[in-house]
Structures are given as structure tokens and as C-alpha cells.
């Protein structure tokens, strides 16, 4: 197990990419939270405010052909991987222009072009699918890695353990990314896991445990893990410690944890780093923020204007 240090030599355009994606996820999530009580979205929402760094640092190193399999907390990682915002919004609005044509809803997002072959609401199972993608690559289907992305409590499901074992037995190009926010709904990790997650994973493969609120640390560790997996060094496990600022589901703040922006906010931390090292001006930061707001406005307008799916076209 390695505990990574952020790489302070990050290039400006990389840092900007990370900031843009994190801001896109954050601002989109906040907008969803704001709109949600009006019932325009007839689907549950699992927001990831506070957790943006994990998916962003990871996806910075993934290509369109790499296959990312998600669980129920989908919006952030899907946007990080490249799902167009308007397709996400239209799906949440239940429109036929949504990425799943309105058939999937919030938890089932598909974007084959950007390496999102689907996500699942049954906790745990999708971990195996990422291993299948790795196996496909190994058997000649293409040059890509499979990525299984899941929460801390998904590691309680037997399929987690079975998946790691098989990936390790065959040295498959698979990344296991555990977004550890310390909770399964309202149950703290101490009540759902008798063991250290990394301790178990490290019995089977190289692991890294990372401060998941530090996008540079995630970026750094993910970069090394992805290149090892691509380089034929077998599966890699990334354990990212993070915080879920919102309730498990819905638009409300979580009352089980305390958030300290200085310590916990990945966006704040990156912006401070970039500002202090002269990479951005306050003006640029403000511009970025409002540019993204406009993107979100446009995506919502797109969703609102889009037709609802026609039940008569629903095939049996």
C-alpha cells in the first residue's frame, strides 16, 4: 500500500481541466438540489457534492474507450467521464433525449461513445462488470482498461471480494476505485465493515489509499494506477477517502458529518492552490464559475424543451 503525495508539478492545463470538471459536477449537483423539490425530476437523486475529486482525478487519465461501470451515485462520475451535460439533464427530466432515452432515470446512465456502458442501482454487482471489461481487453477486444467504481459499503457485498480475486488471478487490466465516504446511507463504516477495506484488497493486488478531497493526490495516484494497469501489471486498487455532504438521497444536507471547507472541499483546495501558485486569477475563477452556470442553464432548457418518451413506442 502506498500513500500518495500530491504532485506539485501539475501543469496549468491539467489543473484547469480538473477544476472545470469538478466545478461542472458541483454546480450541476447544486442546481439539481435546488430544482429537485419542484418535482420536475421524477427519479431519485444521489448527489456527490464534496466527492468531486475522486471521479475527476480518475477520469483525467481515462480515455473514451476505457470502460467505467458505476453504481447508484452516478451523476458526478458520468460527467467526469464525458457524458454531455444536456444528456444527463434530459435523463433526469425523463425525456427521450436523455442518455438512456428516459428509460433509465438517475441511476442508469449510458454513453457508449464515452465509455459508459451502463450503471446499476443494485449495490455491488457492477464491480464485476468492470472486471469483465478488463477480461475482454485481455482476450483481444481492444486496448482499454475496465474500471469498477463503487462506494465503501459496496465492499460488504460478496461480489466485491469475488471480483477482486478473479481480476487478480488473471492479472486483468482493471482498476477498482472505492469512493469511501464512510457511510452506507445512515450506517457508518464502523458498523458495516469489521476490517480495513484496503487491508483486504491488498491481499490481492497493489493498493493506494488517498485523500479523496485532494484532487491532485487522486490525479497522481490514479495516473500511476492506470498506467500500471495499461502496462500489463494487473489490477490496481484505489481507495479514496472522501465526505458525502448531502444525505444519501435527495437534495438535503447530511446531518451526520461536519464539513469544514478548508479541510474538506476539493474545489476550494484546488482553487487555493492554483491561485497561490499563480495559475489563475480570481477573475478567471469567477468567469469559469459563470460559464458553467450558463452551460447548466442551456442543458436545463434543452431538457425542458425535449419531448417525453411515448409509451406507445415502448416495446414489450
Amino acid at each position: 500500500m502506498t500513500d500518495s503525495q500530491p504532485n506539485s508539478t501539475i501543469r496549468r492545463d491539467d489543473a484547469l481541466w480538473l477544476l472545470r470538471r469538478m466545478r461542472l459536477i458541483r454546480q450541476t449537483s447544486e442546481r439539481i438540489a435546488k430544482l429537485y423539490p419542484t418535482d420536475v425530476m421524477e427519479t431519485p437523486v444521489h448527489l456527490c457534492i464534496g466527492q468531486e475529486a475522486v471521479a475527476t482525478g480518475l477520469c483525467h487519465h481515462l480515455r473514451d474507450e476505457d470502460k467505467l461501470f458505476l453504481g447508484h451515485r452516478t451523476h458526478g462520475p458520468a460527467l467526469a467521464k464525458g457524458l454531455p451535460l444536456e444528456k444527463l439533464m434530459a435523463e433526469l427530466y425523463g425525456r427521450s433525449t436523455g442518455c438512456s432515452h428516459g428509460y433509465g432515470g438517475s441511476m442508469h446512465l449510458l454513453d457508449l461513445e464515452h465509455g459508459l456502458p451502463g450503471s446499476s442501482a443494485i449495490v455491488g454487482g457492477s464491480i464485476a462488470l468492470g472486471v469483465g471489461a478488463g477480461l475482454a481487453a485481455e482476450l483481444g477486444a481492444g486496448h482499454f482498461v475496465g474500471v469498477s467504481y463503487f462506494g465503501d459499503a459496496a465492499t460488504n457485498a460478496g461480489v466485491f471480494y469475488e471480483s477482486l480475486n478473479f481480476a487478480a488471478l488473471r492479472a486483468l487490466p482493471v482498476l477498482f476505485v472505492c469512493e469511501d465516504n464512510g457511510f452506507s446511507n445512515v450506517m457508518p463504516k464502523s458498523e458495516h465493515s469489521a476490517h480495513d477495506i484496503v487491508g483486504v484488497a491488498s491481499q490481492m493486488m497493489p493498493t493506494a489509499s488517498i485523500d479523496g478531497t485532494d484532487v491532485l493526490a487522486v490525479n497522481d495516484a490514479a495516473g500511476r494506477a492506470v498506467s500500471r494497469a495499461r502496462g500489463g501489471q494487473g489490477p490496481q486498487f484505489l481507495h479514496c477517502r472522501t465526505k458525502r455532504w448531502m444525505k444519501h438521497q435527495g437534495p438535503e444536507r447530511c446531518d451526520l458529518i461536519e464539513v469544514d471547507i478548508e479541510r474538506d472541499c476539493p474545489i476550494h483546495k484546488l482553487e487555493r492552490f492554483m491561485a497561490s501558485s499563480g495559475m489563475v486569477t480570481p477573475r478567471e475563477l469567477a468567469d469559469l464559475r459563470s460559464a458553467i452556470e450558463s452551460e447548466i442553464d442551456a442543458a436545463i432548457e434543452f431538457a425542458e424543451r425535449s419531448p417525453r418518451p411515448d409509451p406507445n413506442l415502448m416495446e414489450a
Binding site: 431519485p44 438517475s106 455491488g124 452506507s184 409509451p311
Partner: protein, 341 residues
Amino acid sequence: MPWSRFDCDYAAPAGGERELTYCHAVREAIDQAMQLDSRVFAIGLDADDKFGVFGSMSDLSHPERVLGTPISENAMTGVALGAALSGLRPIHVHLRNDFLLVAMDQIVNYVAKWQDMFDRQVQVPLVIRSVIGRGWGCGAQHSQTLHGMFAQIPGLKVITPSTPYDAKGLLAAAIKNDSPVLFFEHRWLYKNTGAVPEEIYTLPIGKAAHLHRGNGLTVVAPSLAAIHALKACENDDLDVDLIDPRTIKPLDLDTILASVRRTGRLLVVDYDFPFAGFAAEVCAAVTEQAFDALVAPPQRLTFPDRGMPAAGPLERSYYPTPERIGEAMRELLAGQPAVTV
């Protein structure tokens, strides 16, 4: 036997009694069973949370016998079985029946088989409670209703109460039963209210209830479908004999047959998949045993044969409604074949 204390006759509640929600009727059955018998305990994901299984686990008087679990439904079912084989009476609770599929090896290969494998030398007093049905755009993995699948499996009883009164009495009966019972509660019934006696009581497992009387058509509908069918009968004052089987298995075929022998017509409304489901069983069994009484082919009204979609208009079209049930009833009453999906 602590159980003898809550044996009572089967009787529908008289009017003017205490009203309870379906959710609280379930809660009360658990709470009273736990008070009467220290072998009863509850286990399940978030079972120990006040919002556990939509509030039906709140404020139980024996919190020390209410255990939360990790997301390990398969092992947890085995744990419940092992506890049942070791002298306790577990109630395993689930927020959605879709999660039971994770535990299918335990439910079908273990729980359902254990008594048969040993020539019934052993008792398996295990209740598995689960919410069924659609929510709010939850999609194909979180909206299923699988009572038909479990009813196929020998060794399992399957109960689907539609009223608060039935929910309390049948859950008490399930807990008291010495064989495995699956107890399915439709999400949309949770806030319905109805008269529920304060005392604990049991209802017979395998006994249907008439929700409406009539002579033109027999309608069999379990769970939420029963309530929707009742609405349809009342809306249009239809001449329908409406039977809520209450338990899918064992099935009270006698009550259904007696009705069909009178009406000559049968419609089964089942909020479950269509192929080889509960509706097929009722139609096949009725035809086998009351063929000569039938004046028209028995009909089924179910979900379409596909996974549940998420978007509102799709979700609403996927689920039958009182209106669609009413239409099917009227067509059958008029001697026309009903539209099936």
C-alpha cells in the same frame, strides 16, 4: 407457548374501530410478537434505523432484538436461517424485493429446501418481509414485484396483504408459522388506513377474502391490484365478485372456484410479470377444475413483458390502473374479451 396467547378467531373488523396505517399495522404485529415471544427478532439493512423499511421498524419495544446489517443480503439470509435452526424466530426485512435476488441461493436452495431435504424433521420459522412495487422513477432494478417467482418455489409460503387489517393478522400468522414465509408489502399501500384491532391476532394463511360481491364476473387480484380493482368496482358499481387471495401460496382455490362456478367469467389482475406468473396459475387451475362453468376464456391483466422504465409517462403506462382494470371488467361483463397486455 407464548403464541397461544394471540390465537383468535378469524373475523373482519367491525366498523368504528381504531384506524391504523398499513405501515403501522405491520409495525404493531412485529412489536407485539416480539413482546410475546423473546425468540422473535428482526434483522436487515437499516432495520435499526427509524426510517428503516419506510418507518415500519420504528420505536420497537425491544431494540436489542432489532439488528442492522451490512449490504450482504445473501449471507444475512443464511444467518437468519441458521438462527431459525438454532431456536429463534427471525424476521428478515428488506427495503425492496429486488434485493432478494442477491439472496436467491439462500432463499431457494437453502431456506425453501431445508425442511424437504430432511423429511420435515426440522422447523424453519423464518419470515422474509419485503416491500414491492414501483416508486418514483426508480427504474427496472428497483420497481419489481416478484411474488410470482417465489410462489413457483416449493417450500415457500407467499403472502401479499392489501389492507392494514390483513397486514397485521397475516404477519402475526407468518411469524407464528414454523415454515418459511415471504411477506410482500406494496409500497403504495403503506399510507392506506383501516380498522385494526389493538390486540394481536392471526389470520389463516391460505384463505382469500371477498372485497366486493357480484355475479357477473370473478376478479382475482392480490396486493395493490386488489385495492385498485375495488376502486374500479365501486366507481362504476360493477357486478363483480372481487377476491383478494391474500396469500399467493398456499392459494385458496376453493373460494375462487366457488365464485367462478357462479359467474362463469374470470379476470386475474396481477401487478407482476405476465409470463408463467400468478395470473397464469389461477387461469390454468380454474380452467382445469371448473372448465364446464366457464362461459368465456379467463383473462389476465399484468405488466408488459419488459423491464420497468423510469420516466413518468412510461412508468404510468407500464402499471395497470383502476381505470384500466375497470375497462377490462366492463368488457368482460359485456361478454367481450378483455384487452390483455
